[in-house]
Symmetry: C2
């Protein structure tokens, strides 16, 4: 499928379903509005799915992995080989995302979009490798425009396959040593804010590492001149393969009316590109949490999204999104399972 | 059991278990600290239980109900009869707390500590009625000191029975039309802050209702002169039967080394009284959320607790606590189930 065709599928939310969900919330046995975000999330998901009550299970978390040439600038506290090692950890079920996905009852789909290190083929690893890592964005484009398009289309196809298999709610997650640097570059390119405001410590670089990251992002913008009006150009010039895959998964959710729970810093960069490709994507997004990574708040502000919670997390992998999926599911169960004042014989407001 | 004996059972957290939990968190396959509150919660629960990893399931939520004489001052948007009606709604499984407790896999124990309206005996309703509603605190004490003690001891016994039956984590919830007024009075009495800062709109009173509430709390403090150094005196003079029951459940959790997840405004008032009875209670508490009810932040500040999340909820019943229990459980699963760097063969920080 062509990208233009995908984008044309994305429609506004179902206002009628939202109005009905709001009316039902007001008739449930509680003071109107007293469940706060649980009420507004359920109304949003009704608008996304067009269903009352909306179904959000089965739930699928995409953990997309890729490596980054910019690591040669000394921007990460961990070596690149950790990307492939962590992919194996995901497949063995020992990573944080596995624990949290099991806790909330979500399936994890692990995808290699561009891991540098060797990964043997396995039935539980989706191989969609565009190339073994991006080029160094501080010296030139991360990838070609065609590769960026390929990454987006791969992510779309994979998410579409899960939707066809029954997935009702999607979430995004990432793995890629060095990927807070391209994510910060995307944020700087699209918001127009200074790199120093967009760059954080990622996995935990020290002060000199932080200065190297800021410098790498500054050079990436100068060398590549990404066009902030063109999402695919930003992705190709300063992005990453796993970020491209996440853009595609987000577009698939919006095109097929599934809520997309967006994890932290990397996933939010992907969401920004998806929204730049089509502003109609925005209401399909639920920001899981406010990451501790500096710059994330700027990204959420640009998107106009208020995160579900702030647990001071900054791990990625989809860990924040997994917990937020459970809150979204709770909000839909409220709409589905609570009794109304009439049903329960409870007196209404004086 | 005597109250003094209960309080003497409460011991400081297990520092050795906390140190071991912190060390294990640092060896798990993630940058140290990157799971934020999930890490600190798991360490706290290790200290509470003395176990690594700590067990927090089975989970029990106490929803304690009582009526309030102060409703005759026009302080609530709903009639008193709603307390008994909502108790039946809890027993039929149609209230928000039922939906959220099912979602997180927690048991709900519904207790009548002092409901005014008629409630037929039922096997699924714990009858521990001290009296059919408190007296009007704007005109005199809510209850006698002996009744306050009875309410606390009842709550303690009920929680102890659940702990003996296997409960590993407790949460508090409440139902009582009018009970944001005594909760605000407790907050004002213990913090010394002005009633106008402690009183909020509860279930949704209008501006004149809000002024009546503030006036009722002001008169309650003047008429009763609760002694802020004496938790039982504050409970008796300006509290409520369900609040007393919650104080007892909180003391039971602390005395028997179980984490106690504290819900919103009413539950936090109970937590304040428990902490005034013994400051050693404080580290056993996990504040679930920041309620929209004005005054809740002052209470959390007095307790020195940072809530797990802020979903703009203000319903009570234990609804915020139910969702927070799931986050606490997730934090303990992280400690139990994640692989270490050695186990997963993942390279450590450069």
């Amino acid at each position: 499928m062509e990208l233009d065709e995908i984008i044309r599928q994305i429609q506004p939310l179902d206002e009628r379903a939202m109005g009905q969900a709001q009316m039902r919330q007001n008739r449930l046995t509680k003071p109107p509005g007293s469940l706060g975000r649980l009420e507004s999330l359920s109304i949003q998901v009704a608008g996304i799915t067009g269903q009352i009550p909306p179904r959000v299970d089965p739930k699928v978390i995409f953990v997309m992995a890729g490596d980054h040439g910019v690591t040669e600038e000394g921007v990460s506290a961990y070596p690149s080989e950790v990307t492939a090692q962590m992919v194996l950890n995901f497949l063995h079920g020992g990573a944080a995302i596995n624990v949290l996905a099991r806790h909330v009852g979500a399936k994890v789909v692990v995808v290699d979009l561009g891991v540098k290190g060797p990964l043997e083929p396995r039935p539980d690893l989706v191989s969609a490798k565009i190339a073994p890592g991006t080029q160094n964005i501080a010296r030139g484009p991360a990838m070609s425009r065609d590769q960026a398009l390929q990454a987006v289309l791969k992510g779309y196809e994979l998410a579409l396959a899960e939707i066809r298999a029954g997935a009702q709610m999607l979430a995004t997650g990432d793995m890629g040593i060095g990927n807070t640097t391209p994510a910060a570059a995307i944020a700087a390119a699209l918001t127009g804010r200074a790199p120093s405001l967009c760059v954080g410590r990622g996995t935990g670089v020290d002060d000199s590492g932080l200065l190297r990251k800021i410098s790498a992002v500054e050079r990436a913008l100068v060398v590549n001149r990404p066009n902030p009006q063109d999402g695919l150009d930003v992705l190709a010039k300063v992005g990453g393969f796993e970020i491209g895959g996440l853009v595609g998964a987000i577009l698939a959710g919006a095109a097929h009316r599934r809520p997309v729970v967006v994890d932290g810093f990397i996933s939010t960069a992907a969401a920004m590109i998806a929204v730049r490709l089509s502003p109609l994507v925005r209401p399909y997004l639920i920001a899981a949490h406010r990451s501790k990574e500096q710059g994330h708040s700027l990204m959420l502000e640009w998107l106009g999204l208020e995160p579900v919670f702030d647990l001071e997390m900054r791990l990625g992998e989809g860990t924040g999104a997994a917990l937020a999926m459970s809150v979204v599911e709770a909000s839909c169960k409220i709409l589905a399972e609570m009794a109304t004042f009439e049903e329960a014989g409870v007196s209404e407001k004086l």
